[in-house]
């Protein structure tokens, strides 16, 4: 779709102060920064050449040096400052900081982030006056191992961890090479190459009960991911209350459809033990439609649990 004159005007108004403050960029770099094409940016700049203050004499026009590999605004006239931030722009930054802050372990950097957040939030209350319309109550549990893992990622070295495995229900000691970390629904996870399993695994930080740094670095032949585990599909009919579970594990849910008063879900999984335990922990009716051997294992398990109470 062709862009409107208004979108073009907005970008042009933002280009002038940006380029005044950041001289010497190439057209390609500017295009990337403004999520536009080099041809479009060139046209914008050509247009800005023609803009100026009333009078429109040579000294009143916007002036610049313009070539494909060097752009510099030599006279921005009175457009040297950026337009004020809109409410949604401010919200994007303050809320983004809010999510980031629990992940910052360095106390000084954390203070900086908090002060930035307060400064930008103030712009919101100075503006239209109405309070913010978006909030987050996300918290992230921090663990003692966070800092050790950060160090291991920075130095590409291995760490030995004691891990409380959710699916095997045991504590294991493993040598892992952390690659990256992420937070999801209040927990921090590390993606790491696990020597024991010979593949990339995700480790939840609060399940790591001990960390010992090592001097090992990852051998080159192990850094490429090994072949993925074989996956299979499992069909389950469940109580509609379990929509929450399906939303929380959207990445392994292939399909969900209403089935009479229940939900029919298809999972794609690589770890039967994990799914079995999660299904045991769901409220209401849970019926495994297939595969048949998975269903058999599940009901045998359920029976064994109930037997403990007879």
């Amino acid at each position: 779709m062709a862009e409107s004159a208004l979108e073009r005007t907005a970008r042009a108004l933002d280009l002038i102060p940006f380029l005044s403050n950041n001289p010497g960029l190439t057209i390609n770099e500017i295009a990337e920064k403004f999520a536009s094409s080099p041809a479009q940016i060139f046209k914008d700049l050509e247009m800005l050449f023609m803009c100026g203050l009333p009078g429109h004499s040579h000294s009143e026009l916007i002036d610049m040096e313009l070539s494909a590999d060097y752009v510099a605004i030599t006279n921005p006239q009175n457009l040297d400052k950026p337009r004020r931030l809109s409410r949604v722009e401010i919200t994007s930054l303050t809320l983004g900081l809010e999510l980031l802050i629990p992940l910052v372990t360095d106390p000084q950097l954390r203070l900086k982030a908090l002060s930035l957040q307060a400064r930008f939030a103030k712009l919101l209350s100075d503006g239209a006056g109405s309070p913010a319309s978006v909030f987050t109550s996300s918290t992230v549990q921090s663990s003692e191992c966070d800092v050790e893992i950060e160090k291991a990622i920075a130095s590409s070295s291995g760490i030995e961890i004691k891990y409380r495995s959710a699916s095997a229900d045991e504590i294991t000691t493993r040598l892992i090479y952390p690659i990256s970390t992420y937070s999801e629904r209040g927990y921090l996870y590390t993606v790491a190459y696990c020597v024991r399993s010979g593949e990339e695994r995700h480790f939840r930080h609060d399940r790591i009960t001990g960390v010992v740094p090592t001097a090992h670095t990852l051998p080159a032949d192990q850094s490429s991911p090994s072949s993925p585990r074989s996956l299979e599909q499992v069909d389950v009919l469940m109580d509609p209350r379990n929509r929450f579970f399906l939303e929380a594990h959207a990445s392994i849910v292939e399909r969900v459809e209403p089935h009479a008063s229940e939900l029919k879900a298809t999972f794609t999984i690589g770890d039967r033990e994990w799914l079995t335990r999660e299904l045991l922990a769901l409220p209401g009716r849970v019926e495994i439609l297939g595969p048949a051997d998975f269903a058999e294992q599940f009901y045998r398990r359920l029976d064994a649990i109930l037997n403990q109470y007879r």
């Binding site: 062709a2 949604v88 994007s92 980031l100 900086k112």
Partner: protein
Amino acid sequence: MSEAGPHKSERLINLTMALLASRRYMSKSQIFKSVAGYTGSPETMERMFERDKNDLRELGLDIEVGTEDPLFDDEAGYRINPQRYTFDIGEIDSEELSLLSLAASRWQNSLFSKNGQRAIRKVESIASPHEEQDLSLPFMRTEIPADHFEVLWEAVESRRIIHFTYHGLNETHRRVAPYGLGLSDGFWYLIGLDLEKEGIRRFKVVRIDPDLTAEKSAGGFVRPIDFDLNQELSMPSESQEERTATVRLRVGKSQELRSIASLTPFDEDWDSALITYTSQTELFEEIARSATSAILVEPIELRSLFVTWMKEKIHG
């Protein structure tokens, strides 16, 4: 038909520069005379200016209307206050800029990622040029809401009542005054006054049918001044009263429960665990996850509730 192309943009920029530069209110005739791009009959220029004024306001520019001398019935004039054109956030150092870039770039939500990038470009227009620092912080994974998130945001901001189908336990039709949006533990929620049920309700955005409609008239409701969105969002759904339960755990197993229990040996195969909990649901879930490695012993009423809860999986 609306104008397109470079001429219109050029005129809008010239107009912005003129209104910013003028200390006095500029009358329309002054504008038509001095700002490049206004041509045609007086009526044509009038219409052009009215549209241009609205367009600039849509870009967030604050165009003030006034007269130089209120005692005389002067023609209304226009100007842009340079201080209200821009924003003042003080000095931004390179570490702060890296934090902001990180905060803006990690959105997987299109509304916030688009606007976050725009905000960063504006901040980079005032911050001293810098080398991006690698702060190596974890990546945040949050729900990526569908396109109707933008409609919800607009409805909240312009205070428009919305109608939608909600896929909760049952499918229901709702009419809601949207008070705000909230991100809680990775999921987006809409918080608002349910006009049918006459109470504040929390709706999961993923369960709101994308086929929603917002009423035409903006300002259709007033959000109470004392309404605290953040408190509403973080309100626990279950009572937080602390209770204890005794659970028997197989030796060397049931690691998750062990991590929150105080343990004493029971016999060769089992330990006795005293567990303090606030959410009965979460306790049941964790015991069920332990399968045959955990047995809920006491209180006896809780034990029988657990058995009923487990049997529901078979009979519903």
